[in-house]
């Protein structure tokens, strides 16, 4: 079940179809020569509502982490009322272990811009902000240049889309962030564009109804937008031939997916695969196998927030069912970090806890304080100073934070919750070997349990 042809990586040499060494930035001219902006041309010949229906039919699910159906999200928008409507392109990509959007931004920015133009036309959004993380400095320049090219060629700007083929006008601006993971959360991102602290908002109202500057707003991931061109060009049926149906009667996982493999493998990098490819195939056939022939010990499922796949879950299928089937939070960004047999899982947990402690935005007490305590407890366990009741306390604090237990505003705390709990539960013996037994049993409850 491997992809026959690259879709998103059509112009970016990627194994097994091309050599990553040959990658270069695709300019507007090269993009157009290889069929670029034909999808936009086709889209502009359709009614906006037809495009929304097409995307709904394709069952494209968001590539930013949550896997929410893209077409469905678009239908939450109210009818245009003459006021401004926004698209925010989520290129924050700060989830540790994730680097798939960077590939598209680095080499084929026009693929994303074409998707932006299609989304703006389909949803009648007049302004797009390309929100890119601060650490992507070279990439910001690439996007800036591409946007400028697109303006010069009339894709965006005063005349209307594609130099006036449609009267509908779209403006597209680059917005550089400044180093805060929480900007990836869609309402945090909106606050950041408004020029405020990226404090996620309480929902509802959802951004589609009341988003940027209080106006209807769609937030989509870079890879989701990049998939729009191919879908418009080749149709929903074609798209659904890739990927897989759900094996547990859930919603399907159709389409190709960029998967960034890192950690202890021979050739880490981004590969384009069918959704549903087993992790072991991804590692062995795409990423060159385990480094030094070592044994597989575990893998972060798709960004650290999703939690960990244990030693017996190497064959887990990388699709949107993965959460329910393998006891992780979900597929996330589909960028697994692989650990070999020599990895210290206590150190992994401590590293992850440090990340969440640093990146909590501080609005909700369970997340802000809980993240600190989780980190302190894990440091104590790593040093060998902890007792077994610390381990229980750790699980209790972790389990009490997040949207799902209902104690926080955004999903960052759920990420911390799942990461810590799955690591401790799947490698319990390793943690127990590091703690001393405690004499007193505690029955303390922290937060809601």
């Amino acid at each position: 079940m491997s992809l026959k042809e690259p879709v998103l990586c059509k112009r970016i040499p990627t194994q097994p179809w091309g050599n990553p060494k040959d990658r270069k930035i695709i300019t507007y001219d090269q993009y157009v020569k290889t069929g670029g902006y034909e999808a936009l041309d086709k889209a502009l010949g359709m009614e906006p509502a037809q495009i929304v229906d097409l995307v709904k039919d394709s069952q494209l699910r968001g590539r930013g982490g949550a896997g929410f159906p893209c077409g469905l999200k678009w239908t939450f928008l109210p009818e245009p009322d003459g006021g401004r409507r926004y698209l925010c392109v989520n290129a924050d990509e700060a989830e540790p272990g994730t680097f798939k959007d960077r590939l598209l931004i680095d080499y084929d920015p026009h693929l994303v811009l074409e998707g932006i133009a299609i989304a703006c036309y389909a949803c009648q959004l007049d302004t797009a902000y390309f929100f890119i993380r601060g650490e992507y400095r070279h990439q910001a320049q690439v996007v800036e240049n591409a946007i400028q090219e697109a303006y010069e060629k009339g894709i965006f700007g005063d005349k209307g889309l594609m130099g006036g083929k449609s009267k509908f006008k779209v403006e597209c601006y680059l917005h550089r962030s400044a180093g805060a993971y929480i900007c990836g959360e869609e309402t945090g991102l909106i606050e950041a564009i408004e020029g405020k602290r990226a404090w996620p908002r309480i929902k509802p109202p959802f951004p589609a109804v009341e988003g940027l500057f209080g106006r209807p707003t769609i937030v989509n991931n870079v890879e989701t937008l990049a998939a729009l061109g191919p879908i418009v060009e080749q149709g929903a049926e074609w798209f659904k031939k890739m990927g897989c149906e759900s094996s547990i009667k859930g919603p399907p996982s159709f389409g190709p997916k960029l998967m960034g493999v890192s950690g202890h493998v021979n050739t880490p990098g981004v590969y384009e695969c069918d959704l549903g490819i087993p992790l072991s195939t991804l590692v062995n056939e795409y990423a060159g196998g385990m480094r030094g022939g070592k044994k597989f010990k575990g893998a972060i499922a798709g960004g650290i927030s999703m939690g960990i796949l244990g030693p017996d879950q190497f064959d887990a299928e990388m699709d949107f069912d993965i959460g329910k089937k393998y006891n992780v939070m979900g597929l996330g960004t589909a960028c697994p970090t692989i650990f070999d047999e020599d990895t210290d899982m206590v150190a992994v947990a401590r590293n992850i806890a440090r990340f969440f402690k640093n990146e909590s935005c501080g609005q909700c007490t369970p997340c802000r304080e809980g993240a600190q305590w989780i980190y302190k407890l894990l440091c104590r366990i790593e040093r060998g100073d902890a007792t077994s009741k610390d381990l229980d306390l750790l699980l209790e604090i972790a389990g009490s934070m997040g949207i799902m237990p209902g104690t926080t505003i955004c999903g960052l705390a759920d990420g911390n919750n799942w990461a810590v709990r799955t690591i401790v539960n799947k490698y319990r013996e390793e943690f127990e070997a590091r703690v001393r037994p405690s004499c007193v049993a505690v029955g303390m409850t922290v937060g809601t349990s």
């Binding site: 401004r84 990509e93 700060a94 989830e95 540790p96 272990g97 994730t98 680097f99 959007d101 960077r102 993380r133 601060g134 650490e135 992507y136 400095r137 070279h138 403006e171 601006y173 917005h175 550089r176 962030s177 400044a178 180093g179 805060a180 993971y181 929480i182 950041a192 564009i193 408004e194 020029g195 405020k196 602290r197 990226a198 940027l212 500057f213 106006r215 960034g260 493999v261 890192s262 950690g263 202890h264 880490p268 990098g269 981004v270 650290i304 960028c335 970090t337 650990f339 990895t343 150190a347 992994v348 590293n351 992850i352 440090r354 990340f355 640093n358 990146e359 909590s360 935005c361 501080g362």
Partner: protein, 175 residues
């Protein structure tokens, strides 16, 4: 996320006569950045980037000037500067070395790289050398995990770092 706690009521703000936001800059902000946003405050992040690019950090006086330009309270600007890690409110070294400490980099040996730089420059993360040449930062995932361990040196990223490479890199940076 840095929670900067300072006795703000008694804090002296260093002032100079010459404004940080020059007329030329203000004009550019007004014609090129502010119109992109429905509300003026939206331009704040990009303007702070520009100021930091110009002066290497964001002085308090500049915050007040930006606040005036955008019809904001200076506190709104400080709010932004203190929340986002990339904005410096104090001068930093000529070269800012940011070593990634997130998961893929840690399991691929970032500690050895970080320790080596610490010893070589004799500073801890988030400190600057006495000559003002280097600032060392421990950063979270740079989105380049395939090249772990990696680091940003000012605007350039360096992947698959080894101790030898980092030595060469640091030794060859001009004063």
């Amino acid at each position: 996320m840095a929670w900067i706690v300072k006795p703000s009521a008694t804090q002296e703000i260093e002032k100079r006569k010459k404004p940080y936001v020059t007329d030329k800059m203000a004009k550019r902000f007004e014609t090129q950045i502010i119109p992109r946003y429905e509300k003026k405050q939206g331009a704040l992040m990009l303007i702070l980037h520009e100021i930091q690019h110009e002066y290497g950090y964001i002085p308090h006086q500049a915050m007040i000037e930006v606040a005036t330009l955008l019809d904001l309270h200076p506190g709104d600007v400080l709010d932004m500067c203190s929340f986002y890690e990339e904005f410096h409110t104090q001068p930093v070294g000529k070269y800012v070395i940011g070593v990634c400490q997130s998961i893929a980099c840690e399991v691929c040996g970032h500690q050895a790289i970080l320790d080596h730089i610490k010893n070589k420059l004799d500073i801890e993360p988030h400190e600057t050398t006495d000559d003002g040449k280097f600032t060392l930062l421990a950063m979270e995932c740079l989105g380049a995990c395939e090249g772990a361990p990696c680091a940003l040196v000012n605007d350039d990223r360096h992947d698959n770092l080894t101790i030898k490479q980092i030595d060469e890199l640091i030794d060859n940076l001009p004063d």
